[in-house]
């Protein structure tokens, strides 16, 4: 879960136009540089080093590639592995690799895959991979020949292949070295080397990142010559930049009310994609008044999702009733929004049964993202109607990490869980919401190890239902991805289910 803006990642192979782009013949007269306005700047350019979503957003699939990639709908498709076989017992993946070269000229081989995965799996690697957990199911990585690599799992894991499409599972060259800085970083931190359709050119910290076309790309060469990411935090400045022609794309619209200036303008297109992320009111299940299931249920009954969806996203979102989203990255999704429909009488009754006939006061810690601050106001007014007073605490993200996430010192918080397939967190009693249900933990283990898609989905659905029944959190909505682009731009990802803003297929008419 990263606090990235509602939408996070990206792109389609043949995204919005639906037609493959002319690969090698961009007309000389058309614009060949794209400027993408992005809210968050990467803190480093080493995609395997930090959890910041912005790193993968700009670099994964553009500069770095993995064995597989997540397509715009959330499905897993081939990338550096052109195909793979799974042994009948579900324990061994054999990946068949493409013939490619890294941007530094060295050939990409199975050794690089082994190097990247071994390095990521090892918790003592410096700097540590922020997602060591992705490789938890892996037993060993073995090179068969330069174009074949075998990954043996301890047991079948449904999550493994999915996670290999994420940012930190990128394949880096085995020549990657450590620089002598404190804290230590690799040479990739300032000059990334991958196999992707674009090469790194320059990084002007605080302002922009420039990529150029990789002329010796192994796959279909991108139509665009140059990609510039510009970092603009202020939503007004972002809009102005698009209107003034300084950027071609607003990659993530943070305030949907600002779409107004673009919806009726033929120079621009508004791209509304599939829902990603889960905005929820997380509750402390381990301590305080919310430890009582009746208090949590009362809160769930007090909430009207529509008010949140309209107030935060101007309607551009789908309501959710448990920890899953209706897109292909979470095929086990079931609609549970009917479980807790707003019912103030019931909410009040549950509250007095729990021993608070005169109501109570709860703290809500709110990070400085629009959804959390606006959501905090809506939450306060809705809970007030059933007798719960909300004491809002506005905190910066590092403080939230410290107090809420690490020390669990909170009652309520509003957060957007943007990582796909993260329902596994309900099996971890130490996770910040402190939900301890061995039965759910057992179901999750079974589900991940289940090879049969139908049976697996069924197991996950049981978990969805159980956590909703237990009112672990009050799930609100999954915001639709929103971007604004110039009308002349095609092939820009319509949805942002995958971690990156893939620009290999984008071109101007």
């Amino acid at each position: 879960m990263r606090p990235a803006v509602a939408l996070w990642a990206v792109v389609a192979l043949f995204a919005c136009s639906g037609t493959p782009t002319p690969s090698s013949s961009p007309k000389a007269s058309t614009k060949s540089t794209i400027v993408v306005g992005v809210t968050q700047e990467p803190t480093t350019l080493d995609v395997t080093a930090q959890a910041t979503a912005a790193i993968a957003e700009d670099l994964r699939d553009n500069v770095y590639e993995g064995l597989v990639r997540t397509d715009p709908t959330g499905k897993i498709v081939p990338q550096l592995a052109r195909s793979w076989d799974l042994s009948p017992d579900g324990r061994v993946y054999t990946f068949h690799l493409v013939t490619a070269r890294f941007h530094d000229g060295s050939p990409f081989t199975a050794d690089d895959v082994k190097f990247s995965y071994d390095r990521a799996m090892d918790p003592s690697t410096v700097p540590a991979n922020p997602h060591v957990d992705y490789w938890a199911p892996v037993q060993s990585v073995d090179v068969v020949d330069p174009h074949t690599v075998k990954v043996a799992l301890k047991q079948f894991s449904d999550g493994f292949l999915f996670h290999m499409g994420q940012g930190s599972a990128a394949i880096i060259p085995k020549s990657t070295r450590l620089a002598t800085t404190t804290p230590p970083v690799t040479n990739l931190a300032t000059s990334p080397v991958g196999t992707g359709p674009f090469k790194f050119e320059s990084w002007n910290r605080g302002a922009s990142l420039t990529l150029v076309r990789n002329e010796s790309y192994w796959g279909t060469k991108p139509p665009l010559q140059k990609v510039i990411f510009k970092y603009i935090t202020d939503p007004n400045a972002m809009n102005n930049a698009l209107l003034a022609g300084d950027v071609d794309v607003v990659s993530g619209v943070t305030g949907p009310e600002q779409l107004g200036s673009f919806t009726n303008n033929t120079s621009f297109k508004v791209l509304e994609g599939r829902p990603t992320g889960k905005i929820l009111v997380a509750m402390n299940n381990a301590a305080g008044p919310t430890k009582d299931i009746r208090v949590r249920q009362s809160i769930s009954y007090a909430i009207d999702r529509k008010a949140f969806i309209d107030g935060i996203q101007q309607g551009h979102a789908v309501p959710i009733g448990s920890h899953a989203v209706p897109n292909d990255s979470e095929p086990y999704y079931i609609d549970l929004t009917g479980l807790y429909k707003q019912d103030k009488a019931k909410a009040r009754q549950l509250l007095s049964e729990a021993g608070y006939p005169n109501g109570l006061t709860l703290r809500a810690s709110l990070i400085p993202f629009a959804y959390a601050r606006r959501g905090g106001d809506i939450l306060a007014s809705q809970l007030a109607e059933v007798g719960i007073k909300v004491q809002a605490q506005n905190v910066e993200f590092p403080l939230w990490l410290d107090q809420t996430f690490t020390k669990h010192n909170y009652d309520l918080t509003i957060i957007n869980h943007v990582e796909p397939r993260d329902i596994g967190n309900y099996g971890n009693p130490k996770y910040y919401w402190g939900y301890d249900n061995p039965q759910v933990a057992q179901l999750l283990k079974q589900a991940d190890a289940e090879q049969d898609q139908t049976k697996r989905s069924d197991l996950y659905s049981q978990v969805e239902r159980q956590i909703a029944n237990d009112a672990v959190n009050a799930w609100i909505m999954s915001p639709n991805s929103l971007a604004v682009i110039k009308s002349s731009l095609h092939g820009y990802p319509q949805s942002r289910v995958s971690p990156s803003i893939y620009l290999g297929a984008a071109y101007f008419s």
Partner: protein, 303 residues
């Protein structure tokens, strides 16, 4: 030197009590406790406070400001990059502010009982009331979106395109300068009004000089002293206080870097930036003091 040492101690202590952990920010929410502990060790966060303070100060004395805990980039280089935006921006903003306020302030002061003086005075009040970011948005709408004369924001490096760099600082400097200029106009006006009431001006007028002549010969230097003080304060506040304007124009300046560093708990960057600003304040104050002596012979005589 003493002020700098005391300042460094205060800065260090304040930064240490900031809640939040840079290691957690770097590794994110899925980090294992072992990985966190390891990174904290690499960052030197597990050393006692006095050791970290001495290491920091020792580094500065050797000209080494350390490396960012989040990006591992050398802090001196980061600050140099940001200063190439912030310093010209502050100076340009000052220039705009002085160009506006000196003529207006003097006229408003000299003609303070007439309609024109009152009008300028009212105008400057309006200028103070307008937030800089609002002025900026208006300027962007007119000059960038309608006329396409300048970019709506962003910054091109001086080395890439000096004209482009200047152009990208133009609107931000005007937005800053308008508001600062309005404030300065009021100071200059009241300073002139005060001076005009002084005995030596009356004497000069009695000798047959006109109001303007008397002011030119005897008034301006005296009126300048309080104005220079305000100017010094404004310069330092423009250097880092331009953060709102930096956001509106998405300029990679010092203010934005500081805010980002605070958001990421990048302690080394925060310390170095605040230390630098402290140094600048001290230098500017010194220059202001020096200018007093140049402007006023009486101050020279007393020392």
């Amino acid at each position: 030197m003493l002020s700098l040492t005391v300042a460094s101690l205060i800065i260090f202590l304040v930064v240490q009590v900031l809640p939040g952990d840079p290691a957690q920010v770097v590794l994110g929410v899925n980090a294992t406790p072992d990985a966190l502990a390891q990174l904290r060790h690499q960052m030197g966060l597990d050393l006692p406070g006095w050791q970290r303070y001495l290491a920091w100060i020792g580094g500065i004395l050797h000209g080494d400001f350390g490396t960012s805990q989040v990006s591992s980039a050398p802090v001196a280089e980061l600050i140099r990059q940001k200063l190439s935006v912030s310093a010209p921006l502050a100076l340009l903003g000052m220039a705009v502010s002085v160009l506006i306020s000196v003529p207006l302030g003097v006229i408003a002061g000299v003609r303070y009982r007439r309609l024109s003086g009152a009008l300028i005075s009212a105008l400057s009040l309006g200028g103070i009331a307008i937030p800089a970011f609002w002025a900026a948005l208006l300027l962007i709408t007119v000059f960038a979106i309608r006329l396409h004369a300048v970019p709506a924001g962003g910054f091109v490096a001086w080395s890439d395109d000096p004209v482009g760099a200047f152009k990208s600082l133009l609107l931000p400097a005007i937005s800053l300068g308008l508001v600062q200029g309005a404030i300065l106009t009021r100071y200059i006006r009241s300073s002139i009004v005060d001076v005009l009431r002084e005995d030596y001006i009356r004497t000069a007028r009695a000798k047959g000089l006109t109001r303007w002549q008397a002011l030119r010969r005897h008034g301006f230097r005296n009126a300048a002293i309080p104005v220079v003080t305000v100017l010094g304060l404004q310069l330092t506040s423009l250097l880092v206080g331009a953060v709102v304007i930096e956001n509106v124009f998405y300029l990679p300046g010092l203010g934005r870097m500081l805010i980002q560093a605070i958001g990421n708990r990048d302690l080394v960057v925060i310390q170095a930036t605040v230390m630098l600003l402290t140094g600048v304040v001290l230098v500017v104050n010194f220059l202001v003091d020096v200018s007093y002596r140049l402007l006023d012979p009486r101050i020279r005589a007393t020392r």
